[in-house]
């Protein structure tokens, strides 16, 4: 019996504003109007400066561990810009820029990494879920969020962010399978930065692209230059349009690189070549936008200096707000445990005792006070 080809596929890679600052006018037409580009540029600069400040805060003992976003600003930012304001952003932990664009005040992120749960209480109207530190779990939640939208007949989709390493988790594979087979409008947005802490990408995925992992589940897959804000915006915009119209998932692999350490607890020099880092510094997502703005006569050095001053003020004000918040009290940790605090926990809170609960119940006197004694 003759054999025949039953499946072939290819993955498209999109680049519009390349690393040399060359802009493809045809592909880039109407992707980002100039006035928006200025806003996006400002966000990236602000986010980059926050990284710098947070790093110093950590080094001086004023913050716990912090993962820098440096080099990856365009990925989440481009996605947040391309999506509707009420589409779900389901982040991992390196998506500051997109979250800020959506409207999250910077102090939330600072509070989170300073070790304060209040940084996770993201206002509901922003449609962002809290940072997901257990790798991979958020992809299933995003699929569930989008599923709920579909169930309710809403047009809201979800976009979930994760790294190359996270595609090794079963959660990714189960979320992808689920979304594809049950027609769920969720965008799987992989930020392939080639490293998972010290583990190189080929230990997580030995196929030539991460994007093709999505093909196996039957969803459309795209790759784009993640350091090119135009390519990210166009890819996500098209994906969102398709996902919304067809109620289907899409996989996007944005090729990028973290210019900093994995977190402040890491020292990437121990496992990465300086030459590799230097190469990616040339591909910085901020540099090429600045160059383009200058070419379009929208930017100059004095504007740059003014912006620098502005973001410095804003970031320092955010640090002040984060550090100025009153420390939580012991009673606070019983908040948000249950919709309604059960009796035994209420007693723990009121008596400050947890050992041998039976004892506390009898002796605390809380009961008799309650009953009006």
């Amino acid at each position: 019996m003759p054999t025949k080809t039953v499946f072939t596929a290819e993955i498209q890679y999109l680049s519009i504003l390349n690393e040399h600052g060359k802009f493809d006018a045809k592909l880039g037409k109407d992707v980002i109007p100039d006035k928006d580009l200025l806003v996006l540029y400002e966000h990236m600069v602000r986010c980059r400066y926050l990284d710098e400040v947070a790093f110093k805060l950590q080094r001086s003992g004023r913050m716990g561990t912090y993962p820098q976003n440096m080099g990856q600003e365009a990925t989440s930012l481009g996605a947040a810009y391309a999506l509707n304001k009420d589409d779900w952003l389901v982040p991992c932990y390196r998506e500051n820029c997109g979250l800020f664009y959506r409207g999250l005040p910077m102090e939330y992120i600072l509070l989170h990494w300073m070790g304060d749960e209040r940084g996770n209480a993201i206002p509901r109207e922003l449609y962002c879920t809290p940072l997901a530190i257990p790798i991979g779990t958020q992809m299933l939640h995003a699929t569930g969020l989008a599923w709920a939208s579909k169930y309710r007949g809403e047009k809201r989709i979800a976009c979930t962010f994760f790294g190359d390493g996270a595609t090794s988790e079963g959660d990714f594979h189960e979320a992808a399978n689920f979304a594809a087979n049950l027609d769920i409008p969720v965008i799987f947005f992989c930020q392939n930065n080639f490293w998972a802490i010290s583990v190189p990408g080929k230990i997580q995925c030995s196929a030539p692209t991460v994007a093709q992992r999505g093909l196996a589940y039957g969803m459309d897959c795209f790759q784009c230059d993640g350091n090119d804000i135009f390519a990210v915006v166009k890819t996500v915009r098209d994906a969102a349009k398709y996902a919304r119209a067809k109620s289907r998932p899409v996989f996007i692999e944005a090729v990028t690189y973290r210019l900093g350490d994995h977190t402040t607890a890491d020292d990437a020099r121990r496992y990465r070549d300086q030459a590799e880092v230097d190469m990616w510094k040339q591909r910085d997502p901020i540099l090429r936008v600045r160059q383009l703005l200058k070419e379009r006569k929208l930017w100059n050095d004095s504007k740059e200096a003014a912006l620098k001053e502005k973001v410095e003020k804003e970031v320092h004000a955010a640090v002040e707000r984060a550090e100025g918040i009153a420390a939580p009290s012991r009673n606070d940790f019983f908040d948000h445990m249950y919709a309604e605090l059960p009796e035994d926990l209420r007693l723990q809170r009121d008596t400050m005792q947890t050992h041998s609960l039976g004892e506390v119940l009898e002796e605390s006197g809380v009961r008799s006070q309650e009953s009006g004694g």
Partner: protein, 313 residues
């Protein structure tokens, strides 16, 4: 681990970041250089996957040591480690053993937030078929690790990030510490404090303070939770007639509660006061530093409990 790997070629180490990076907490420093990539192996971020594969290799007679960067990440591998490893021998009618060690950092105290601060002994000690070792000092860490590796059954080895930097005498020469043999860290006459792992240090601190107030505590370090050294615990309670259990997991259905129940059953007539338990408060580990310390079974809570059972409150 290295000493055991030199002794037995069937032993290998796998996990996230264990090779190139020498372990996320540098526990496997130098091991890749000494044993090479065949025996010290970096894994993709697939806890369920590599735990399950390691179990398969253990069934074939290899003796894997599986590092979870944190025991908190073992939760995504719950099925292999709880549903497969501890039951393999039982469900294969004795055909396939599972000589495997799962190890990693356990417990709160480093401001890692609630999802990274699990005290898994609270969950896992409920499961028959596995053993749990939880050293409180470097000497025990070596002796218990050797026993764990040589054991023919699955052993959960719970380390503490907070204890990785403490120093203590560790003999160069070979020794092992048997499972189910507690250590009396401090002798005393008024109250027995039973603990294991990091909270042993809190108990010692509390005992020190209490001694100044004339209350003499006997501090028992269980060293392993499964098996638990009931003999030593009961003998001590029969001497002191009072008992406080200090356990960093939550109280509900915990190993601490099991000790309280066993002591109550076996030493009922010897006790002057019901056994009290000091646990972490019934909330997810808070992220904020002050709250986290409050939540843990800290010396303040232990002192209050000891005073109560010795009627000095």
């Amino acid at each position: 681990m290295s000493e055991e790997m030199r002794r037995d070629a069937r032993i290998y180490l796998l996990g996230e970041e264990v090779a190139q990076y020498n372990g996320a907490y540098k526990v496997s420093r130098g091991m890749l250089d000494e044993f090479g990539p065949r025996r010290v192996i970096d894994m993709p971020i697939s806890e369920s996957g590599f735990a399950g594969m390691a179990i398969g290799s253990a069934m074939m007679g290899l003796r894997p040591i599986v590092e979870f960067m944190s025991w908190s990440f073992s939760l995504v591998a719950a099925d292999p480690i709880l549903n497969n490893a501890p039951k393999m021998l039982y469900m294969s009618g004795g055909q396939f053993g599972c000589p495997i060690v799962f190890r990693g950092n356990d417990g709160a105290g480093g401001q890692l937030g609630s999802t990274h601060s699990w005290c898994v002994e609270g969950l896992y000690s409920n499961v028959p078929g596995l053993k749990i070792a939880i050293p409180s000092n470097p000497y025990d860490a070596k002796g218990l690790m050797k026993t764990a590796i040589r054991d023919d059954d699955p052993v959960f080895f719970l380390e503490s990030e907070r204890l990785l930097s403490i120093k203590g005498e560790v003999p160069e020469e070979e020794y092992t510490i048997p499972f189910g043999k507690a250590a009396i860290r401090r002798e005393g006459t008024d109250c027995t404090i039973v603990s294991w792992g990091r909270p042993v240090h809190f108990a010692m601190e509390a005992a020190e303070t209490l001694a100044k107030e004339g209350i003499s505590c006997e501090v028992i370090d269980g060293r392993t939770i499964r098996p638990m050294d009931w003999t030593t615990i009961f003998a001590s309670v029969r001497k002191t007639n009072a008992c406080v259990v200090v356990d960093q997991s939550w109280s509900f259905a915990s190993p601490g509660s099991e000790v309280a129940a066993q002591v109550s059953e076996h030493c009922f007539d010897d006790l002057d006061h019901p056994v009290l338990r000091v646990h972490s408060d019934d909330v997810p580990a808070p992220y904020a530093q002050n709250l986290e310390q409050e939540m843990l079974p800290n010396p303040r809570k232990i002192i209050a409990a000891v005073k109560k059972v010795t009627y000095r409150a």
